[in-house]
């Protein structure tokens, strides 16, 4: 007996399975663990998990790459590299060090800055940006996962900054300049740049660590 080859009427997702798994291992933050479980599935060669990862974070990855490179084609190239790297190195991802989103955005920043340097062919900075190895910790009640409120607070602080604070932050984060390169670019003393950057980042950290409104 041969069966007719029929397609099922709708695809069946894995979301239920993920949520079930999260509940089983007693995770507090559902979204974070769905992501962490995706990384495990990717490490096991499950390409549908990679598709889910792209659907969840592709837009943020593209946005950052586009901000750094300011060129759609170059940004697309970086997005492809980032997810290819996530696919190859999913097994190395450690949820105790960074959220999946944080990890992907760190890779994105490093790859986009590499591409920026290659494009500008800056001979003094040919080595590729290293990903910082973040220290592991057991996520406490304040899980290292950014709430949309925290992101909104950071956006508000950046809007409130005047140029002397905002520009050094942008040059450091989105153009990958070291403090002395920023000083050179802005034609300011290194000490001034260091102080301004330190103050700006302190304010951003403060905004991030503010207690959430109940």
């Amino acid at each position: 007996m041969r069966l007719t080859l029929l397609r099922p009427p709708r695809p069946i997702g894995f979301r239920d399975r993920q949520l079930l798994h999260c509940r089983r291992v007693g995770i507090r933050n559902e979204a974070a663990d769905v992501d962490a479980f995706r990384m495990k599935r990717i490490a096991a060669g499950d390409s549908s998990a990679l598709a889910e990862l792209y659907d969840a974070h592709g837009s943020a990855v593209y946005t950052l790459a586009h901000r750094i490179l300011r060129h759609p084609g170059d940004a697309e190239e970086v997005v492809q590299e980032v997810f290819a790297q996530a696919w190859r190195q999913a097994g190395r991802y450690d949820p105790n060090r960074a959220s999946v989103a944080g990890w992907l955005l760190m890779i994105t920043r490093a790859r986009a800055l590499d591409a920026l340097r290659a494009r500008e062919a800056r001979p003094d900075r040919t080595h590729s940006i290293e990903l910082p190895e973040l220290p592991a910790h057991n996520p406490g009640p304040e899980m290292t996962l950014l709430s949309s409120d925290a992101i909104e607070r950071v956006r508000a602080v950046m809007r409130e900054f005047d140029e002397t604070l905002r520009v050094p932050v942008e040059l450091a984060y989105f153009e990958g300049l070291s403090q002395s390169e920023i000083a050179e670019r802005l034609n300011q003393p290194l000490g001034t740049v260091k102080t301004r950057l330190r103050n700006a980042v302190a304010k951003l950290r403060e905004a991030l660590n503010q207690r959430e409104e109940p």
Binding site: M1, R2, L3, L6, R7, P8, P9, R10, P11, I12, G13, D16, R17, A44, G45, D46, S47, L50, A51, Y54, G58, S59, Y62, T63, R67, A75, E76, V79, Q80, F83, A84, A86, W87, R88, Q89, G91, R92, A98, G102, L105, M106, R109, P132, E133, L134, P135, T144, L146, V154, R155, M158, A172, Y173, G176, S178, L197, V201, L204, R205, L208
Partner: protein, 262 residues
């Protein structure tokens, strides 16, 4: 020269941003391993970076990018940290799929050619023989379709693998289902007991209730396989293989030989 804590802690920001010199980076990493305060600072600064990235006005990626991302990423093998039973990467399964397809195609082609040659040589042109040959050709075509369907399933983006283990009726048996919600399933089993006359193995997708996924066909090397697209509307919970009367049954009636849950 060993620097004091404050001058090392001042490096945390550039460390997170990847703009330290190699020597400074090495020194800071060594310091970081034993300093709780700097570890906290590094985690905070990494979060600031993430928050800055996520506070940008969103630029939507072009629609075609998703397919290109997935195609390019999955073209390379996954580097698992340590080999695990579950850890066999898709590309290895694709290699197996290619072997299955090649075996079916080669075997069928060789058989077809030799059979034709043999008939020619014998000069036996009886109508019966021709009919038999036509049947062989039809079988070949079916094999080719099966091979194509196998490839479609095994290369599907949403492929999942489910291992089935032998039950009381056949503890030594083992099976495997490759399941793609969009493309169908491929099932293969080994070490199943020989079937008594008038009996077949039938595969079931267990969703809300068991749905037949077809009769397992004996393969040339002693195993059994099914390649199909069962009409399943809810999420499968498990896959099972039972023994049934020839022709199969709409719902399982016989003993269970293999079972594996999602």
């Amino acid at each position: 020269m060993n620097r004091d804590h404050d001058s090392l802690a001042a490096l945390a920001h550039d460390y997170v941003l990847g703009s330290l010199s190699d020597a400074d980076e090495r020194e800071f990493r060594e310091h970081l391993a034993g300093c709780d305060e700097c570890q906290r600072a590094v985690r905070d600064l990494a979060l600031v970076g993430e928050a800055l990235a996520r506070s940008l006005d969103v630029s939507e990626p072009p629609a075609g990018l998703r397919a290109r991302v997935l195609a390019r990423a999955t073209a390379s093998p996954v580097a698992a940290p340590a080999p695990t039973r579950q850890g066999r990467a898709t590309w290895q399964w694709l290699a197996i799929a290619a072997t299955i397809v090649a075996t079916i195609m080669t075997g069928a082609t060789v058989y077809y050619r030799s059979e034709t040659a043999r008939l020619r040589a014998a000069g036996a042109q009886s109508a019966q023989r021709i009919e038999s040959l036509e049947q062989q050709v039809a079988a070949l075509r079916t094999n080719a379709e099966t091979a194509a369907q196998t490839t479609t399933v095994l290369t599907a983006a949403d492929l999942a693998r489910i291992d089935l283990s032998g039950q009381a009726a056949a503890p030594g048996a083992a099976g495997r289902v490759f399941w793609s919600p969009t493309s169908g399933l491929v099932f293969a089993a080994t070490n199943l007991p020989e079937l008594p006359p008038g009996r077949v193995y039938q595969l079931w997708v267990v969703a809300d209730q068991p749905i037949s996924a077809g009769i397992a066909e004996p393969s040339s090397r002693g195993g059994f396989s099914v390649v199909t697209s069962p009409s399943v509307t809810s999420r499968p919970k498990a896959f099972a293989l039972t023994i049934e009367p020839t022709g199969g049954r709409p719902a399982p009636t016989g003993a269970m030989f293999l079972l594996g849950s999602m």
